[in-house]
């Protein structure tokens, strides 16, 4: 089989099992787009802005576990992708971004729409390639998918000069199914001695705590985590990225931890004597002040990335390996062990946790006449459960993201899609689009705010074109809420540029894109609006909730404070 470069790209995508790609054409990518036009294995979704393409591919990847794929042109095509690529990189999302490049002979000449794509993306990719020879194209495509999806996943950029994809130059096509790279061999199995040590330590614990992150989701290890946690009977908390890895409605679940985590989760972290950290990276928003982090604990850390281990917090029992494999092995060792945990100590520990939980740290003013954002999310949680349908929730970044994480109960992995690491406003809507494309039968809700949504709102047009009827829950408080909250607490209420003036009429805006728009100003209308949106399954509904402007996210650990120094809503004043 002789193929041109453009055809090789498409054939490689087909062999990788890619069904959907997100992109935007332009000069340097036209040969590839021409090859795309002449095949039907891969469906292309034409976005309105390349950033939207990357976030959509990202949402697609997070919700399915399959790599998201993007196709863009050179210059502004790839620079517009950078925010999306960095977002995927921070959260270790498997993704392949294909970018056209000016012809090889023009590289370095400041040609029209030329930029150093591999240079610009280098710090925010897992790896990138520029293919300067047609003979290298097939193998590079294989390498890109292999690197993106194995070990700790991440985005890979493949930059392809236009002459490499020329339709008139064809070469024999061979796809290297069995690829080996001498410089890249991720560790899969954990060290058996370390695993035994970890299980021994867990059994000897008096006040154990399990803390898990996005790695459990990425490794598809929810079942193993749930089994191990139940077998041990220990309390568990998830990071923002890890929500859904353990069922939120399970009594052993203490809620999210960290800056806006629950009081019980954070206090249990602070007081525990053995901490089992799995697929989590001790992010600063999770640990609070490192000096005060888990002062009494001996720490076990399971991670596929050796550089995550002892990066910010020194650990006692490191285990490098794929979370799923390691958890399976831990379960095996635990079940084979004759030792059992100290039941008395564990019962006492649960009593203590019960006293912390009794503070009801997520309490808010339920009697308020204004629409409280927490109320909207509580109702959304309740009403989407009532449908019995699978529901995915994406979010943008800020207060609404924290409230969604606190109040929406995720019982399954890959249902909570948000930009945790980079914190990218504008992520939620295009991500929802990617999720919906992959899960047409499920309900997909984008929880956002009036500031975030405007950063990628143009994708409402794409969602119309491809009939992707999501529900947008816009918590409209006429402020960049999280910025305003910090300014209230730490800048003596000097609200510098956190107020969004001249907001659009979101109802009319949604309607102009061909969707349903609803403005909700009264608490009594909340349920009805959500129910109606859930019933309108063939139309996108944009719900614009006019919420209380002054609401803050509690509880909160201020920067520089430890887990034991949380502030609850009842003590509004923060230092």
């Amino acid at each position: 089989m002789e193929l041109s470069g453009g055809e090789i790209v498409m054939e490689a995508l087909r062999r990788e099992g890619v069904e959907h790609i997100f992109g935007y054409p332009g000069g340097a990518a036209l040969h590839i787009y021409d090859a795309l036009y002449q095949q039907d294995a891969v469906e292309h979704i034409l976005v309105r802005h390349e950033q939207g393409a990357v976030h959509a591919a990202d949402g697609y990847a997070r919700s399915t576990g399959k790599p998201g794929v993007v196709l863009v042109t050179s210059g502004p095509g790839i620079t517009n992708c950078v925010t999306g690529i960095a977002t995927a990189h921070m959260d270790s999302i498997p993704m392949v971004v294909l970018s056209g490049q000016v012809p090889t002979r023009a590289i370095g000449s400041d040609a029209f729409q030329e930029c150093d794509a591999t240079g610009i993306t280098r710090p925010c990719v897992k790896h990138n390639f520029m293919v300067t020879r047609l003979e290298d194209l097939a193998e590079t495509m294989r390498k890109a998918f292999y690197v993106a999806t194995s070990g700790r996943p991440g985005p890979v950029v493949v930059d392809i000069p236009k002459d490499v994809t020329a339709p008139n130059v064809k070469i024999p096509f061979e796809y290297p199914e069995d690829l080996r790279m001498r410089s890249y061999n991720p560790t899969i199995k954990g060290h058996p001695g370390q695993i035994r040590k970890a299980v021994d330590l867990l059994i000897s614990a008096q006040r154990p705590m399990i803390y898990t992150g996005g790695g459990v989701v990425l490794s598809n290890a929810s079942a193993e985590l749930t089994e191990l946690t139940r077998e041990l009977g220990y309390p568990i908390t998830n990071t923002l990225m890890g929500l859904g890895a353990y069922p939120a409605t399970d009594p052993q679940f203490l809620g999210m931890l960290g800056m806006h985590g629950t009081y019980e989760a954070n206090m249990a972290m602070h007081e525990c004597d053995v901490l089992l950290a799995i697929g989590a990276r001790f992010d600063d928003r999770v640990t609070g002040e490192i000096e005060h982090f888990c002062p009494h604990a001996r720490i076990i850390h399971v991670d596929v990335d050796p550089s995550s281990i002892s990066k910010t917090v020194n650990v006692d029992v490191p285990i490098v390996g794929d979370v799923k494999h390691v958890l399976r092995d831990m379960l095996g060792v635990l079940r084979a062990s004759e030792r059992r945990a100290d039941a008395q100590a564990i019962a006492t520990w649960w009593e203590q946790i019960g006293r912390w939980a009794a503070t009801d740290c997520l309490a808010y003013d339920r009697d308020s006449e204004l629409i409280k954002p927490q109320y909207v999310l509580e109702r959304l949680n309740e009403l989407t459960r009532e449908t019995g349908r699978d529901t995915f929730v994406t979010s943008d970044v800020g207060q609404h993201q924290m409230w969604a994480a606190q109040f929406y109960q995720f019982d399954k992995p890959r249902r909570w899609i948000n930009s945790g690491g980079l914190g990218t406003m504008g992520f939620g809507l295009p991500a929802a689009m990617g999720v919906k494309l992959a899960h047409r039968d499920a309900d997909v809700v984008c929880v956002t705010g009036e500031a975030s949504i405007q950063m990628c709102i143009q994708e409402l047009s794409t969602m119309k074109q491809y009939d992707l009827p999501c529900i947008v829950v816009n918590l409209n408080n006429r402020y960049m809420g999280m910025v305003r909250q910090w300014q209230e607490f730490f800048y003596s209420k000097r609200y510098s540029h956190s107020y969004v003036d001249a907001l659009p009429d979101f109802k009319a805006l949604a309607e102009s894109y061909g969707h349903i728009g609803v403005r909700i100003e009264h608490k009594g209308e909340v349920d009805g609006a959500i129910r109606e949106a859930l019933a309108n399954r063939d139309r996108l509904t944009f719900l614009d909730f006019i919420t209380d402007q002054s609401e803050n996210v509690y509880p909160m650990i201020a920067q520089g404070k430890g887990h034991h120094e949380m502030h609850l809503a009842s003590e509004r004043e923060l230092a």
């Binding site: 591999t118 240079g119 280098r122 710090p123 897992k126 790896h127 990138n128 520029m130 690197v147 790279m181 001498r182 410089s183 890249y184 990335d305 050796p306 550089s307 281990i309 002892s310 990066k311 020194n314």
Partner: protein
């Protein structure tokens, strides 16, 4: 602590900037960095001299290993090793200075590789301390131009870094 890290990496465009970018992005120190292809032309060998606490050095090694282009690495300072740097230095050499410089070069086992009626170029290899000592002995006023290669090194004995 000063560490010398030897890295075998794919001899591909961009590999050097991945390493340099890693050091700048994560705020690690680079005292010197040298790189050239190995006997196997598909690989390059890089020698990085860096400083940091034990934790930082550990992270540097892990982060380097994480780069997809890096095949293998070794911390030379963990065991006996030989390290060398090459110095090319142009020095003032007029009148009585000519004899003085020549005897210093002999003492430090360097070589004079270029001679004019006003200057010499001296070539010297050695570890950083020896080269510093030689330059100190010459005195600042004698030095016209200096170029140092940065450190390269290799482990002593059986220990071998290759693919």
């Amino acid at each position: 602590m000063r560490h010398i890290i030897s890295v075998l990496l794919e001899n591909e465009s961009g590999a050097l900037s991945r390493v340099a970018g890693l050091f700048s992005a994560r705020g690690y120190n680079i005292e010197s960095l040298t790189v050239a292809p190995t006997a196997d032309r598909s690989l390059s060998r890089m020698t990085i001299v860096t400083t940091g606490t034990e934790e930082v050095i550990e992270q540097i090694k892990k982060q380097l290993n994480k780069l997809v282009d890096v095949v293998r690495l070794s911390d030379l300072t963990e065991s006996p090793h030989v390290e060398r740097e090459m110095l090319l230095i142009k020095v003032r050499a007029e009148g009585a200075q000519r004899e003085e410089v020549r005897s210093l070069v002999d003492i430090f086992r360097g070589r004079i590789v270029d001679v004019t009626d006003k200057s010499y170029i001296v070539e010297m290899t050695g570890d950083g301390a020896k080269i510093d000592a030689f330059m100190g002995a010459l005195g600042e006023h004698a030095v016209l131009e200096v170029v140092r290669s940065g450190t390269t090194g290799i482990a002593r004995g059986e220990k071998i870094l290759r693919y």
